[in-house]
Symmetry: C2
Subunit: 185 residues, 2 copies
DNA sequence: AAGAACATGTAACGAGTTACATGATTGC
DNA sequence: GCAATCATGTAACTCGTTACATGTTCTT
């Protein structure tokens, strides 16, 4: 009912898929949500605190006899209701993806062609590395986590990452080619 | 030499392509850089002030005899050098594009299929609208601005927008189909 | 006369990152 | 013993948006 930001919902959601500590949440984000979301510890810990305060999660602290300081969080039914409400709420306008490669390209008249081409080559390589990461994660899910109820949804998001990245890679290749042809004239 | 952020360079760059006021910069961004960059007035005006302070731009103020309050900015040679230095500096790591549609999809096990499908349909429509906008701008550039020296670079960035958007649209269609098939089982 | 577009600017707020601080456990 | 990994947390800072304030000019 209150209106949290998307990051808060992301954390709430992660509590439902086996992540029960700030550290586990961070790991999951870095490994699996990496292509469409990221969160730093500076957000995670204060948000978890907030969730407990607002009764959307509970916390169990392990701190007996010199044992390591550890906290386990669990979503409450109020938290689940909040999550479902967010899930069904309409999607926002597509946010602008700030792309500094395109920003530089936009102004690249002020620069020799070979510099521009070098940037595009570098960008292409980074994109290819991303693509490869998606494939690796995909294979891991298919081979090891196919029992997991959430797995089909995870594969959908990976498919998105792969397709969009592949399109960007193709664009790089074609644009590099165009710049090379242009130079020869 | 100082190290400005990308937004500052965007504004500096726009000064070189015929935008000489805060208002003109805002318009250009909303019309042409819209698919990979956006800036609000809350950033533009303070940044222009900073550029003048740092000698990267000059300002000419029109404020005689009840005339409208207007300022014209021009890049200095120091500004041009700074812009070129930024252009040739290596590109950063690809930033994570936060996508709240994918974020919801990731947790959509907690939601009936038809809700998920509805979100994807809505997303697809928004993407198609974007695609159409890119086409319109592209045709405008080809027909009216082909003399413009920067035009080829603008077309490259538009091509990127079109390709990536088309890939996302295809993904939407296919994912909706998969969800429909899944439901029938 | 009215409303849209032109035009500039600031203050408060919210989101998110980075750097720092701390300490336990595990594997080599 | 040492390094990597596990584990939690905060404060300062940067970035960017939103809401507000103000006034002009053009079009109908």
């Amino acid at each position: 009912m209150k209106g949290y930001n998307h990051t808060t919902y992301a954390i709430l959601g992660l509590l439902t898929i086996g992540c029960h500590s700030g550290y586990a949440i961070k790991q999951m984000i870095d490994q699996s949500l990496n292509h469409f979301w990221k969160i730093s510890y500076g957000q995670i810990y204060p948000t978890l605190k907030q969730l407990v305060q607002d009764d959307l999660a509970t916390v169990e602290e392990t701190s007996q006899e010199g044992k390591p300081h550890k906290k386990e969080y669990f979503i409450t039914s109020k938290g689940e209701a909040e999550l479902r409400e967010w899930l069904q709420s309409p999607i926002d306008a597509i946010p602008v993806e700030k792309n500094n490669v395109l920003l530089k390209l936009f102004f690249s008249r002020h620069q020799p062609h070979d510099h521009t081409i070098a940037h595009l080559e570098a960008y292409k390589q980074k994109l290819q590395a991303h693509y490869h990461t998606y494939e690796t994660i995909e294979q891991m899910i298919v081979s090891q986590l196919h029992e997991e109820k959430d797995a089909p949804y995870w594969l959908f998001t990976l498919d998105y990452g792969k397709r969009v990245t592949a399109a960007a890679v193709d664009w790089c290749s074609d644009t590099i080619q165009k710049l090379n042809d242009w130079e020869e004239i």
